[in-house]
Amino acid sequence: MPHAYFFFRRLVLLIFLLSPLAALGGIIVNSDVEAQRISIASLRNIYTLRQTLWPNRQPIVVFVLPDDHPVNVAFAKEKLGLYPYRLRQTWDRMSFSGMASAPIQVKDENEMRARVRATPGAIGYTSKDMVYDGIKTLRLE
């Protein structure tokens, strides 16, 4: 049993090593979002659909990459401290029971940036921690 466990940890590590950009990823929001920084707890609450409003009560629109996208795997594990399958489980339980909408899934990082730029209240993530036109990057603390 421990062998398989370490194999798994090594595999996760390997994914990070193979996508060096992923580990540096940034949290991006639409330019109309007032916040400059976000706490890990708050980010986790947003992505587990517990927090649905920004501090100024603007509705949050959550974007995600596909479950098996390396940037999503890195974001879930590194930033949220959750495996992608646990996130999916939470979204499924919340959405199929009618309690919340699942995050909106985009196909790649280009679409992620385009949708976050165009959607008021949007939050998403990218592999590069850099500045994009019309998108705000939040400092994680």
């Binding site: 509705p59 596909p66 199929f96 699942a102 209240g121």
Partner: protein, 398 residues
């Protein structure tokens, strides 16, 4: 005979949901509609007893599930959602297509950290960890949920019912709290529910009266979930023509305790309850009874690779806490004692082949016939105490 004789509630609510007029006045800028769905097919083989079709010494293909779920954020504070479900499960469920639920949720108080709302319509019933999404294969811990707590025999009772729930959630430094408190009129009027409450299919009908439901959930920062569910439901029986039963009453009460601890790739879950059943006033041929069931399970899930999961579960069910091994029951009725209990050891494997496709395999070793589906095993004395079952399932989502 179909397994359920429903009123016009379903179609009424569904058409109401679809006909409601759109309103675009407010802030939310994301898509206001969401459509998602799933379809799954199972294969079941077993020894000695049948489960969902003729599975004994053969293969039953009669376990099919499909659903289409839609939600619409009509206003920032109002969400409409519903699900159409197709389900076939051997002789126990032959209803095919049905409206599963259709509810409106009005979140009348929202802050960054807390929400308070009222949901009404034909609402999903909170019951333990899995009940609200029990028909969505991806959300279950196995192909079958632990039958002790989530008895498929009484599923119609637990699924969804017309009524209303007040609900709230709050995120605090010491964890997230959720509660649901409501009143519904549950559906007792199906052959499998009659089987579990009245021991057979009867000429009359069981009609649900009011039921109280409540659930408290606390998600601790230690990745622990603690949950308490309370249910109290009543039904009245109207005798049919040539009925040996008189107009009696049944009552079901339960307090279900849930504990879940999540470690890195391991999830440990336990749920336990002692549901109480009361039957009174059915006349001389069906003596009044008051019994307390014991039902619970322990379950471990291990994601040993990102797309692979192993599950081990021990599930126990005693129909009468005071007569666990059924000796008293056998003595007084002459029927086999093993119908009074079931202990199920399950080993399951899940492979998320792609984000849209899941394959599962599962093996059950069962001692007892306590939750064996009655309609699939009509001859009581042919049922055998020790039996095995394997299941395969492919599930697709979009």
């Amino acid at each position: 005979m179909t397994a359920s004789r429903r009123s016009g509630w379903n179609s009424l609510l569904l058409s109401g949901l679809l006909a409601a007029s759109p309103a675009w006045a407010d802030e939310l800028a994301g898509p206001r509609y969401q459509i998602q769905g799933f379809a799954a097919q199972g294969l079941i083989g077993s020894t000695h007893n049948n489960f969902f079709g003729d599975s004994r010494d053969g293969v039953s293909t009669r376990f099919t599930e499909a659903g289409l779920h839609g939600s619409w954020q009509a206003l920032d504070a109002v969400r409409l959602s519903g699900q159409v479900l197709y389900r076939q499960a051997g002789e126990s469920d032959q209803d095919g297509l049905r409206a599963d639920y259709a509810q409106a949720d009005w979140q009348f108080y929202q802050t960054e950290a807390s929400q308070l709302g009222l949901k009404f319509g034909k609402v999903k019933l909170p019951y333990g960890l899995y009940n609200e999404t029990r028909d969505v294969p991806f959300t279950r811990s196995g192909i079958l949920l632990p039958q002790s707590v989530y008895v498929d025999n009484s599923r119609d009772l637990l699924l969804a019912a017309p009524g209303a729930f007040l609900h709230g959630a709050s995120v605090q430094p010491y964890g997230a709290f959720d509660f649901l408190l409501g009143w519904v009129r549950p559906d007792f009027d199906s052959s499998s529910v009659e089987y579990s409450f009245l021991g057979n299919i009867r000429p009359g009908t069981l009609k649900g009266q009011g039921a109280l439901g409540a659930r408290l959930r606390w998600d601790l920062p230690t990745d622990t979930t603690l949950m308490l569910t309370h249910a109290d439901a009543r039904a009245d029986y109207s005798p049919g023509t040539g009925d040996t039963l008189t107009a009696g009453k049944v009552r079901f009460r339960n307090l279900l305790l849930t504990v879940q601890q999540r470690f890195d790739t391991v999830t440990l879950t336990a749920e336990y309850g002692e549901p109480r059943f009361d039957n009174t006033g059915f006349g001389p041929y069906f003596p009044s009874s008051h019994r307390t069931i014991q039902a619970g399970y322990l379950q471990g899930e291990w994601r040993f690779l990102p797309a692979w999961e192993l599950m081990l579960r021990h599930d126990f069910f005693y129909r009468d806490k005071r007569d666990k091994n059924g000796h008293l029951f056998a003595l007084t009725t002459g029927l086999p004692a093993h119908s009074m209990f079931a202990r199920d050891t399950t080993l399951g494997l899940r492979w998320d082949t792609t984000p849209n496709l899941m394959l599962r395999a599962e093996f059950h070793h069962v001692d007892g016939t306590g939750w064996l589906p009655g309609p699939d095993n009509p001859v009581f004395i042919d049922r055998e105490q020790r039996w095995n079952m394997w299941l395969l399932q492919a599930a697709y989502r979009f």
